[in-house]
């Protein structure tokens, strides 16, 4: 059971939206809360907030954190094989940043009363989601470049929007993460260009990776607005400030020309620039596939979860040892991870 704490009390996170709170006092607080959001103020952890706002944020921030952690795997797989020392150093630094972003996001979610351990348990139990894109495989080195440009590019489009959101700790975490992500895209672009302008074999490798990652990149923004049950609430409370479809369009407008300029193609016969609207027209991803992968039936869901569970199981004795030491007062604090964080 996923739980969180409010004023020291452990409360289960409801699977469904909580029943609407009622009464004149609640209505007044809600009106004041929504007025603050309308004025562009940030909501802070100790401020009053509707339970549904808290629930939506926990859902989104924990999914986001899990995406960073699971997202370490498809690229991390290529650290051992990176083809130059420079690329190896950069890739290690990049995957490290993803871990760091996970850490920041878990902390932001913790301000809402849930613990990192509870979130991780939910992930490993298969109850929490993470971005669908990390359930796709990375069979070649070029996939690292494709992720670096397309997936990180899509993530930044999304995160720049989230940085404008109403919840202070999440918006601030996003700001910092976007700053670091701009380095990732630069490196992704650099690796991408090296292959796109390389030998015919390298170009082909890059093209195949683009073919694999184009639609997952479009999926990163989530289901189309017509099917997104959360969007209206998220927009009203400025947890999000743009819809999934708006963000998807922004991404295509920015990245499709970039890929084409490098002489590669995009696997979409309908892709073309529309001078009337100033936007690119494109085909939607296969949403049936999207829902299948979200529900656990993607090419790598089982592999990703197995890797996380294995790391968790194999590390159990270490965490127990840290907790035992901390409990004896050797390091102070009740939790081993804080003890080691200071090293």
């Amino acid at each position: 059971m996923l739980t969180y704490r409010i004023h020291g009390q452990v409360v289960p996170v409801p699977e469904q939206a909580p029943p609407p709170q009622e009464g004149p006092e609640y209505e007044a607080r809600l009106a004041e809360f929504e007025a603050r959001i309308a004025r562009g103020e940030k909501i802070e952890p100790t401020d009053w907030m509707p339970e549904e706002y808290r629930r939506q944020l926990i859902r989104m921030i924990s999914q986001h954190a899990h995406s960073e952690i699971v997202g370490m795997l498809p690229e991390g797989k290529w650290i051992p094989h990176a083809p130059t020392l420079r690329r190896k150093l950069i890739l290690i630094a990049k995957v490290q940043d993803e871990g760091g972003h996970g850490q920041l996001l878990y902390r932001a979610a913790e301000t809402l009363g849930i613990t990192r351990e509870e979130m991780i348990e939910a992930l490993l139990a298969g109850k929490a989601k993470y971005s669908v894109v990390f359930n796709y495989p990375t069979p070649t080195w070029a996939d690292v470049a494709a992720i670096g440009l397309l997936i990180d590019g899509a993530a930044v489009v999304n995160q720049l929007m989230l940085a404008q959101g109403s919840y202070g700790p999440y918006a601030r975490a996003m700001k910092r993460i976007c700053y670091e992500e701009s380095f990732h895209i630069k490196q992704g672009y650099d690796a991408f260009v090296a292959l796109a302008t390389g030998t015919p074999a390298q170009r082909q490798m890059m093209q195949e990776a683009v073919n694999r990652w184009w639609y997952p990149a479009l999926m990163l923004f989530g289901p189309p607005d017509r099917d997104s049950v959360h969007t209206p609430t998220l927009l009203r409370w400025r947890i999000k400030t743009k819809t999934n479809d708006e963000l998807r369009q922004e991404f295509v407008d920015q990245y499709a020309p970039m890929v084409l300029r490098l002489g590669l193609t995009i696997p979409d016969p309908n892709l073309r620039y529309d001078p009337e609207t100033g936007h690119w027209r494109f085909s939607e991803p296969d949403w049936d596939e999207f829902w299948r992968v979200i529900k656990g039936d993607g090419p790598c869901n089982a592999e990703r979860m197995a890797a996380r569970r294995r790391a968790h199981e194999e590390g159990r004795w270490v965490r127990e040892a840290l907790a035992a030491k901390a409990g004896r007062g050797v390091n102070g604090g009740s939790d081993g991870r804080y003890a080691m964080a200071g090293v």
Partner: protein, 264 residues
């Protein structure tokens, strides 16, 4: 982290046979660092706690960065460039101690190996800071500064895991028994050692080993770990390796040697 791609010093020329003798030392140091960095990086995404993923990524970057620095000095002495050295040599051409090529094992083995290596590097670098060959002395001083965090990190982990729980003690003791003989191999005499010692490039390896033992034994004892009686595993510094290096290099070099391109 400082840039791993230093501007080469202007004057590094050395007359033969001293050039070759110094090259052997640099090669041993560079190969140790690059392979340990590779092993450390295998934890990124798979460590026991997120903080450990992040720490291992930092350490891996530092070790590989230091390898680049030593390879760059070698290049100045006439060897091929760092990527050529790391990606286009076969196992018998590597001069690393066998310690760093062993698989990453469990977290206890990784910590014990890192601890033994970090302190070996510490005593070596501190000795080399007084080297008669200025480029080496300068580089050693720079690397030594960057190693301070590693020393704190691995020492803290050894002290925490050595006697925290029955299981952690058992795993750490087993790791020490496995790693110790290979760690002694870090001080395997290498070709040209007597010449390097005579020219004031470095102190004898036996002396470094004694200094190292004086540092690590008290910490291991404080962690309730018993140092095994064991003969050193030698051979690495002469290109004789375990089969683990074959597997490691197959992983490390597979894209670079795929023949699909020259630049990446």
């Amino acid at each position: 982290m400082a840039s791993p791609f230093p501007k080469p010093n202007e004057t590094v020329a050395l007359p033969d046979p001293l050039r070759e003798a110094v090259g052997e030392l640099l090669l041993a140091m560079a190969d140790d660092e690059v392979l340990l960095g590779h092993r450390d990086s295998e934890w990124v995404g798979h460590a026991p706690i997120l903080e450990a993923d992040i720490a291992m990524a930092s350490i891996a970057q530092d070790e590989i960065g230091h390898a680049v620095l030593w390879y760059s000095l070698l290049q100045e002495l006439g060897w091929p460039d760092p990527d050529r050295m790391a990606y286009f040599r076969d196992p018998p051409e590597f001069r690393n101690a066998t310690l760093v090529e062993l698989p990453k094992g469990d977290w206890a083995f990784t910590i014990v190996r890192q601890f033994l290596f970090d302190f070996a590097e510490k005593v070596r670098l501190e000795a080399l800071m007084a080297s008669a060959w200025a480029p080496l002395a300068e580089a050693a001083a720079k690397v030594r500064r960057e190693e301070t965090y590693h020393l704190m990190h691995s020492r803290a982990w050894v002290l925490r895991l050595g006697d925290a729980t029955e299981e952690s003690h058992r795993r750490m003791q087993a790791a020490l028994e496995q790693a110790w003989p290979h760690a002694l191999g870090l001080f395997e005499p290498t070709p040209g050692e007597s010449l390097r010692v005579a020219e004031g490039i470095q102190p004898p390896e036996a002396e470094l080993r004694a200094r190292w033992e004086a540092e690590v034994r008290p910490i291991l004892e404080a962690a309730s770990l018993r140092v095994p009686e064991a003969e050193p595993v030698y051979g690495g510094r002469h290109g004789r390796h375990t089969e683990h290096l074959d597997a490691l290099l197959a992983d490390f070099q597979m894209v670079a040697r795929s023949g699909l391109g020259e630049t990446w």
